[in-house]
Structure formats: C-alpha cells, structure tokens
Symmetry: D2
Subunit: 379 residues, 4 copies
Amino acid sequence: MVGGGQDAFIGAVHRMAARLDGHYELVAGALSSTPERARASGLALGLTPERSYPGWETMLQGERALPAEKRLQVVSIVTPNHLHFPVALACIQAGLHVICDKPMVVNTDQAQILVEAVERAGTLFAVTYNYSGYPLVRQARQMVRTGVLGEVRKVAVEYHQGWLATAQAEAGNKQAQWRVDPALSGPAGALGDIGTHAEQLASYVAGLELESVSAELSTFVAGRALDDDASVLLRFQGGARGHLSVSQIEIGRENDLRLSVFGTLGSLSWRQEDPNVLVYDRLDAPRQLLTRGGPGLSPEATAATRLPAGHPEAFIEAFANIYAGLAAHHRDREAGLEHTPDYPTVHDGLRGVQFVEAVLRSARSTERWTTVLAGQESA
Amino acid sequence: MVGGGQDAFIGAVHRMAARLDGHYELVAGALSSTPERARASGLALGLTPERSYPGWETMLQGERALPAEKRLQVVSIVTPNHLHFPVALACIQAGLHVICDKPMVVNTDQAQILVEAVERAGTLFAVTYNYSGYPLVRQARQMVRTGVLGEVRKVAVEYHQGWLATAQAEAGNKQAQWRVDPALSGPAGALGDIGTHAEQLASYVAGLELESVSAELSTFVAGRALDDDASVLLRFQGGARGHLSVSQIEIGRENDLRLSVFGTLGSLSWRQEDPNVLVYDRLDAPRQLLTRGGPGLSPEATAATRLPAGHPEAFIEAFANIYAGLAAHHRDREAGLEHTPDYPTVHDGLRGVQFVEAVLRSARSTERWTTVLAGQESA
Amino acid sequence: MVGGGQDAFIGAVHRMAARLDGHYELVAGALSSTPERARASGLALGLTPERSYPGWETMLQGERALPAEKRLQVVSIVTPNHLHFPVALACIQAGLHVICDKPMVVNTDQAQILVEAVERAGTLFAVTYNYSGYPLVRQARQMVRTGVLGEVRKVAVEYHQGWLATAQAEAGNKQAQWRVDPALSGPAGALGDIGTHAEQLASYVAGLELESVSAELSTFVAGRALDDDASVLLRFQGGARGHLSVSQIEIGRENDLRLSVFGTLGSLSWRQEDPNVLVYDRLDAPRQLLTRGGPGLSPEATAATRLPAGHPEAFIEAFANIYAGLAAHHRDREAGLEHTPDYPTVHDGLRGVQFVEAVLRSARSTERWTTVLAGQESA
Amino acid sequence: MVGGGQDAFIGAVHRMAARLDGHYELVAGALSSTPERARASGLALGLTPERSYPGWETMLQGERALPAEKRLQVVSIVTPNHLHFPVALACIQAGLHVICDKPMVVNTDQAQILVEAVERAGTLFAVTYNYSGYPLVRQARQMVRTGVLGEVRKVAVEYHQGWLATAQAEAGNKQAQWRVDPALSGPAGALGDIGTHAEQLASYVAGLELESVSAELSTFVAGRALDDDASVLLRFQGGARGHLSVSQIEIGRENDLRLSVFGTLGSLSWRQEDPNVLVYDRLDAPRQLLTRGGPGLSPEATAATRLPAGHPEAFIEAFANIYAGLAAHHRDREAGLEHTPDYPTVHDGLRGVQFVEAVLRSARSTERWTTVLAGQESA
C-alpha cells in the first residue's frame, strides 16, 4: 500500500475491504509522504520494520530485492490524486498489479500513458470506483443489459455532500486540505472527488458513452481554489440524455449518491445511503422493490452478495467487491481461465479523466455543448 | 367556472377546493367548449338551467344582466391553456375576480396585457400554483425570509412524472390530448404543464429572481409535437445558482415534485408526495423533521393548517389554501383592511410565462446562457 | 350537528368532510353544551338564528315543527362520548339519520339499545371510524376478501400517539380534558379514543371476529384517571391471532396508526401517516407498492378515490368517504336500489364497545384469556 | 472455530467479522459434525491439515499439545444450539476464551454452569448478540443511561421475518432444518432464534430487568414442532412496561428488528434494516435524526464507528464490533488495565435463556403473568 497512514481516511477503508474476504494480506507499505510517519504507520499496522518503507520508490526497490514468492503482488495506491500517476506507472513497470483510488490521474495524457503501460505489461489494474461494487448496482446494470428497461432514454445521477459547506481546509480538516488544493487534487474539486464517481456509476449501469456535456461549475465557499458544486447536462451517443449534479456544500447531505435510469419499458432508482433496495418501475404496473438477497435477482448481483436479505451490507462490502474482483481475475488467469472483469479498470479510469476535462472545458466555454472526446466545441 | 365539465380533471379539484372551507358557492358556469356538454355538466353539478351557460361569453352576458347581489363574483378558469387569456381578460374587464389555472397564458404579451388589465380594474387575480398552498411550503418560505438558512446559495427543483412515457394522446387519454397539442397547450409541453409549477415553487420559497437559464428540452416519445422532458441550469440574480428538471416520461414517477434550498447556514428539502414533512438541516447539527401541525412552525404555516400533526393534509387542502387566500383578501378589502396576498397573483403568472419563453429561447440557442428578461443572449 | 362549536377539533373536521363532495349542507345545529356558545358558534358558521339552537333537545323540537322538506335529514353527533347515547337515541326515534363519532357509546347496553332502535326506525346510522374511508384500506379489505393473501394468520394493529405524555388536561388542553375524564369519556381512555379505531380497522380489513383478548392497560401519567396505553393479545375466531398496541404517551408519535395482515400467500401493510401507499408482499416475489390511483387497484378503492396517483389524498378525504357512503346509501334507498353499506354502521359501533368492555375485563382478570362476547373467562 | 463449515450461514459471518479489523486469525477449526466435511471445510478455508480437526474434542486435544504461543486462544462456537453447551464448557475448562452464538444454551441449568465455569476460569466469554454492536444501538443505550429520555416508561421491540412462512425444512432448507428441530434447536423456535435477540436488544438499550411476562406462542405452519411466532407482554422491575413481538411467518419481512424506547422526556426508535439512523423525539420539539458518524453522537457510538456519516455500515461491521470488543478486553487485560465489557457476556447469555423459559412457562399457564426469575406464577 502506498499512502493511507495516520490521519488518512480511505487507506483504512482499503485495508478493511482487502481483509474482509481473506484474499489479501498486507505485507509492505509506504504509508505516508513523510518518511517517519510512513514507518510509524507501517509498524502500527503490523508490518515488519524492513517492509515499513519510508517512500514508494524505496518500497519498489526493496521488494524487487526479495525472492519472487515473498514479493509484493498488488499495490494499493491511496495517496492524494497528484501521486497516483507516478506511483501507478512505476508499479506497472515493475510488473505489479495495481488497485488505484479515483480519480485515476489528473489529466488525460497521464491516463493514456497508464492505459498503454497496462496493455504492455499485461498487469491487472483496478480503479476503486467502489460504488459499482454494490450488489444492486450490479443488478441494475444487468437489467439494463438484458433489455428489461427497453431502450434507455434518460439517466439522472446526483451526488450530494455537505461537509465542505464551510472553509474546512482552513479549519484544519486534513481530508479537506488536499482536496481543495489544485497541486494535490488536480484541476477539479467536487467534480473530481465525487463527480467521477457519479459519471462512472451512470456509465457502468446505463452502458452508454457520453457524447457531449454542458456544465456549470461553482465555487460557493469564498477563497476556495476549486469547484465545490457542479451541474452538468449530458448527451449520450445514440440519443439518450441526462444530467449530473454533484455538490459538497449542501448542508445536511452526507454521502447521498443517487442514480435513476429511465427506459421505454421501465425505470430503476438506487440510493447509496439505502443501498439494499433497488426501486423498479414498469409501465402500468405497481412499483417493485428489489432487495439485495431477495427474490428475482440476477447471478451477477448474487455473486456480489454475502448475506441473506434483511441483513444489510454496505460500503465496506461493496468496496471489498472491487478487491474481490481483481483477486478473482488473478486466480482465473493463474488457472488459465477466461475472465471478463466486473471491476472498473484502467479504461474506466481514463474515461473518468476525459469526463472531468470535458466538463472543465464546457465551464469555460460560451457554447452550450462541448464534446467529450475531441476537445472541439459543438452545438 | 369556465371549463371543468365531464372528462376534465382539474375542474373537479377546483370545485372541491372551493367547497372545502365554505368560502365559495358554485352559482354559474360554462363548463365545456361544447354548448350541450356545458349545459349538461352544469345541471349535473346542481346549477340552475339559466346559469348553466353554453359558453363563457354568454355567461358573462347573462351574469351582467343579474342584480349585483346575485351576480357571479369570482370566475375560476380551468380550460386548456389557450383559452385562459381571452376568458381572463374578459372577466377582468367585467370587474370579476379571477382564479386562473397555470400556465396563466401562452406568451409574455398576453401576460403583460393581463397584468395591466388587473391593475386598471383593481380586481383580484390568483393563479393556481397550488403547490405553494402547502403549509410546509409556506414554512420553508418563512424560514428563508427570516434568514434561518443564511444566504441562499443553491436551489434544486425537480418535477417527475411518468404518465406520458407512451403515446397517451393517441391512446385516447383526454388529459394527454390537449397537453401535447400546441394549439391548445401553447408552445411548451412538460415545461409549461409542470415546469411552471417547479419554477414558481422555487421562486416562492427561495425569494430569488432568475437571471439566466441554460436549457435542454427533449421529446422522447416519437411523433409528439412538444417537449416531454426539460433540464435547466439556473442563475439567479445575486449569485445563487440552481437547476430544474422536469419530465413526464419517467416511468413509475407519479407526481414527484421536490424542492431543496441550500444556504450558508442550513438547508431545507420538501417533497409533494410526502407533504407533511419538511427536512431541515443545520450546520453541524442533527437533521430535524418539521411536521405540519408540529412544534416549531411559523404563524404562516399554522394559518394554512386545518388539522393536528399526524392527521395528514394533502393536495386538495393545499389547493383550497389558494382559494382561501383570495377569499381572505376579498374579505379584508371589503373591511377596508390592508392585505398582502399569500397566494400567487397575476405577477407570478407573468413570471412563469417569462420563464417558459426564456427556456424555449435557450433550447434553440448555441449560447450557454440566455437571459430571462431581455431576450438577448449573454455568456 | 350536535357539538363541534368553538374549541372543538372534530366538529370542524366533520363539516369539511360533509362539504367536500357537496352532498350535505349544514342547516341547523346545537353546537355546544353551553347555550350561549351554541348560538354563537352556529351564527359564526352561517346558520340562521332560528336554527342555531341552544341545545340538542330544542333542536329536535324546532326541526320537528318545520315542514318536512325544510327539516334536518341527518344529524352529526360530535360531542364528548357520554352524550352520544341520548342524542343518538333521540335522533333515531325522531326518524333522523345519524352520523356519530366513535366510540359510539360508553357501554354495551347503550349500544344494544341503539342497534334495536335503528332496526326499528329503519334509519341510516354511520359511525365515523374514518380510517376505514381511506382508499387503500378499502383496497386491503378487498384483497383479503378475494383471497389474495390466502388464509389470514395474523393481524397486527398499532396506534401510536404522544400528545398525552404529560398532564395536558391540567395544562388547559380542552381536547385532553374531556378525554381523560371518565364522566365525559366513559370507562376507557386511550383504549376508547384510539383503541376502538385500531380494532375497527383490523376487523374491517381482515374480516375476522374477535374471540378473546389478553390485555395490559397502563396509566403512565400520574393522577390520570383512565388508561393512556394498552397492549392486547388477540385471538380471532377460526384460529388467527394478533396484537393491538395503542398509546398516547409515546413522545414524538403524532397519529401513527398502522395495520399489517399476514396470510398464507402474502401480506399487506398500511400506515395512516403515509396513506397513499399499501405495501404488498407475496411469497417469493419482490415487494410491491400499491398506490392510491395507481395500477392494479380494485373498483372499491377506485370508488373512494378523487385524484390521480401522486396527488395525495389524506385525512379529510377519507373522512368524507364515510359521509359520502351514507349519502350514497340514502340516494340508493330513495331510488329503490339495493345498497350494501361500505361505511361503518351501528353494528360496528356495537362491536367496538364490546371490544372495550372485554379489554377492561381482561385487564382486571388474573386469567390469561377473556372472551369478548360472553363476559365469561376462558383459558 | 467449531461449526461453520459448508452449508452454514453464520460461520462465514463470524469469519468476516473476525477478519474485518485484523484482530483475529483463523488457525484451527472443527467446522462440521461430520469428520470428512470438517476436514474439507478447514482446508478450503486455508487451515493446515493438522489443524483441520475432524471434531471439537480432537481440536481441544490437538491444540493442548501445541506450544502455548502457537495454541488457539479464542474459540468461536457457531454450531446448532444443542452443541453450544458441551463445547463451550470444554473450552472454558481448557482455559480458552469463547465467542458463542445465541441462544447461549438451551436451558437455565446449562447457562448457570457456564456462568460459574467462566467465573472460575477467569476466561472471556462473548455471546454474539450482534445487534448490540451497531453504533446507533450503543448511542441509544448511552442516551438512556445518561437520562436524556428521562425515566423509561415503555419499551417495544419487534423482530419480523417471513422466511419460515412455508414448510422450508421439508423443502430442504438447511438453515430451517435445525432451527425447527427441538433436538438441535432446543425448546424454542422463533422465540429462541430471534426472540432472544429482541430481548437482549431491549435490555441492552433500556437497561431494565424483566419482572414478568404474559405470552402467546403460535405455530402457524402445519406439522412444525416449535413456535414460529411469539407475542409477549412485558413488565419490567421498577414499573416500566413493554411488549415483544417476533415472527418468522410474516411474508415479505426480511430481518426487520425494531426497537422503541419511550421515556418521560423523549423517545428513541431504531430499525436494523436502516441501521445508520436513530430517530430521537423530544417533548414539544421537532424530531431529530441522529446518524452514525454524524453530529451529536456519544463517544461510545463513535468508538463503534469505522466510516464517516453517509458511508453506511451494516451487519458485518456491527458483528465485528462484538469481536473487536472481546479483543479489546483481552488487550487491556494483558496490559493490566481495567476494562468494562461493551459486548454481551455469559451473564447476558444466561438472561436470554431465563427469558425463553419464562415465556415457555407463560404460554402453558392459565395465569396472566409469569415471573421471569422464580418460576412461580404471579398475578
């Protein structure tokens, strides 16, 4: 693991997700950008002194020196965004599998380089778009894929938070500090932090490719360098439309990610804060509530489920499904079996960065519509 | 009453709203555009044959001929949109008070004429933006006004319906037929039918004036002449921002109007389908649920409340509050008292039409932003 | 109307319910037990001075003196409980139809006398068990009747309120004062006030007859003369079982009446505070939410519905369905048509009083089970 | 671990709970009552062949033979109920700490023997009443303890399931088979399986001791040997009252455990299926929703919390809090520190068994009230 030492939030989540199913063991880490803190954090987590590395470069060197069967196999990258690229690239080039937090990197050039590096190295690469690990998100994706909703007309995705409604960074909140600093977080604020989750969730479930966006980025807290609120109109290839709203200044909203997909035959709605229910509506029929572990679910949802209905699973379990997905991929490859990843890969990471850049371009443009892929404006 | 005969939906609602509190008596009507049906509908509702008029012009003539104390005092206009203007204008010019369904008229010129006519005649004029009659909507408005939320940063308003997800008009649905016909409904579909409700609700509660819009109008059902879905980014005067989403093709959504207002100190959320609860969030404090009739409510909310907490009030009661508002205004005027209307007036009707036109202009524009008032584009 | 003057709550509700559909007109009343207040209340409601009677006996005399076509036809009795019996009996004997609040009377002897009087007079008699007027309660009743749930095994009914958690009567709350006074309210407190609603709702929907009860009555507020909380185990004829819990001391609960019915094939759940949804579960199938006005409803539910789905109806509309039921019965009788009442009648009123008496006996007994009808104890 | 091999449900839950926080390592097991299946299950879970024991007696022998520092320290007992007692007793006598599923044993005599054995051996003993591991359950307990609710008047606890609404055991459901067999499950069905959870949750939060019960046990599915539904009226020492309802035949209910506690100053409500919200009502104040990780929580709730608000935690995390509690106790003891367990101990296990026996006695009695502790009847 790189990053995730003391004061970090997401590192601990990655470790719980890795431990939950017993597929991973933490053997080495460079857990902070400060060498002493990195060492102390490693020891506190039970790493040996030799493998509590002071930095990620030393870690890669040290591990390379070990016999193959003792060596690190997978690296989790849980640093602030600006470090994802160099660490990931070095790991790939060292032949290591990577599990990288999102947004994968801070610009498209970096993302393209990683895509090519992964293709060259043949290593596995997961991006922890963890919300796609929820069983009922997988159920929704299957229902769209199998045509249960008919043709998708509209996708609405929202991600509401309120914890940055005041100047948290200035108040000493470590989680806020790097997120609102362009040097550490990249060119996008709320858009990169949670907008990428929203975009990925919508794409993952609806199976659509974005064509163009029309965006409004706002910064409501005085003095903040990055956006803390974004509203984006979406046009998908093939004619479907949608909108995406994300905010970190909506007081009282905790982590309220919501997705609705509307088709010609039915619709689906899901909320991350109530993740064990999927609302399913059909033309001229009563609403159905599909529950995780309950009747009528697809094999894909069931495979992501650990407990019977009514015994709620939640955030960590969904996160663990990303880890379990990469582990299963690795196991199948070792066994010489075909495997189609159900976890977000480096390609999803690339698409997320393309989305961020398109929104940034749109927000600066006087044109209503900005195409996602080309960089050229269109109306 | 003009309109609202057999097969009509909203006419019956107006009559129940009028009856509920005993302030109104139905004495005359021209209840359909077909003379025979108008008469039959009037008789079925207990009108005398003489006052079951075959058309609205005859009604105005007939009533003018009656002695003043027996004459119609208020006319409810519940026809398809295209008739609102001529009927309303004639009523105002006849010195009658008017309660008119929304959208008030189909273009700004008509709206301006009504505003001037009302000012000249000194009559009362209510537009049945009925959702602003809900007690907790009035509570929300008061909380914004008194500064409880701090400065308003963002307003999100959504209105989700699904009943037009298929070609209902072609299937014989009378409610659908006039709504998707530009000749009867005006230039806007879902935008005019429910978008105007959404805009008015947001303005009524947040107390902000729209500056510019960036809109996407869609028509998802093949062959439909008007929009059935609209997404609009909003910029308000003073810097607040927002978005408005309305749709009539979201299968499974019944009448799901929602409003959230986010300020620097707190936020409020309300849903029409669960109208007796107002969600109130404050910085760093547990969420509160304010309930109609419950503790902590303003006099304005209490004045709009008939029953104790837990004895739910709903759509008809809110609608009746618009009727009761005009009746109270009338009573106070007769008594020579000052009265500030709490019901939507001809000015709100005008603003709704301006909003519709701005959205229509934006949807045709290549510019990102369209100003609401001027008609000139801005970026 | 008898009772329901100033300071009364339920009288105003009866009047709104009567007005809503235009079937009734308020023509006479004895609206308070204090003659001056009775007169003043009548005048305030628009009654003529002659028909603003100082007391119910005078009202019956005065009306008898009027020509038949001008005379009162139906009397609504909305006094405290102890007056229901004499007023109702006199009205029946005067050939008037009666709409009486619940509990119908304060003991079984009185109830039996009313039953016989109604049978003798041939008049109509409704008890405002208003919750049985909700469209989805009628839907639930039909689903049980038509066997959709299979054989009913279990019925759970709860009615939670909190407004009497403190000594409200002593604090000057008029609604509380008569309810906690045995001389005005009868021998039961919460049990009579809301327990009878709960019993009736369960019986109405489940179509079962109570066989025996095992009850715990509590009085939590010091100095209160009547129960403010009741828990009752239920055994129905035919083997179904259930429990009923009602309370007026549960702080924060407003008017939270809930019913669940469990059968061999499915189950139903309904909540008065969210009355437009009926939760329907079937063996091995996803949960369905049936909505008022939505797909899949019975003619009986539709007949009790005024608005489309998503336009919520609530307490007053349900109450008005009781009034509309008696009006429809009267209309059909005048037309010589058969009519099976869908509203609660004098027989339901009797059953409610029998239930109260059985619970009171059980609470004093050392035996576990008390039979409802005989008064003899059984184990 | 003893029990929890193939086809088992709860064993896998225990293992995930043990792994989540990294406090435990699975080193040995006797995972099935069938020796071959025990071995196979152990190997499948990564145990060495030597420590994949064919039975629990062999496991205890084998481990005793190991050097102390390699030896098993804690045994998780996850067998059907009838084996809890012999395995637990042998483990305690071998000086091992025990984590035992509920109900702890099948009668009071066994429970008393375990209590004494634990006291003699000085070992740690947790009963996995896992619902008491939820952070907001701990919050509720603290709010009661610190007097926020005033004096507790009433406790209502319900546990609704529907999975045994049909003859599941006969249909081959392994989870059902042992639960409805008195030889494996003990004398209580739903009462033992989920009623004990309900009783413990109520006691844990309300801090009250049961005095007497009045119970109705039902068996709705033909041919079933044990109860599948129980309704119990409760009297607590000190005058508080309550009721407990548990069922496994309520079609559509998944794992719907609910608790409400009503005091003189406020009340609390919590639902296991929505575990990240605690509803808090105060006299004459708006309802508050306390959220896990949100503002206003106690140190005890925070200590049981891993993720920020809005990132839901659920069943496994709560379960892991029981495991973490015993681990923390062990750590503190090793460090010579005082430690008050926050997890359910052998004493809670005993109280659960006493509750079951009292309910069984009550259900056979003709008296209304059965005292919990004495076995003698009282009225």
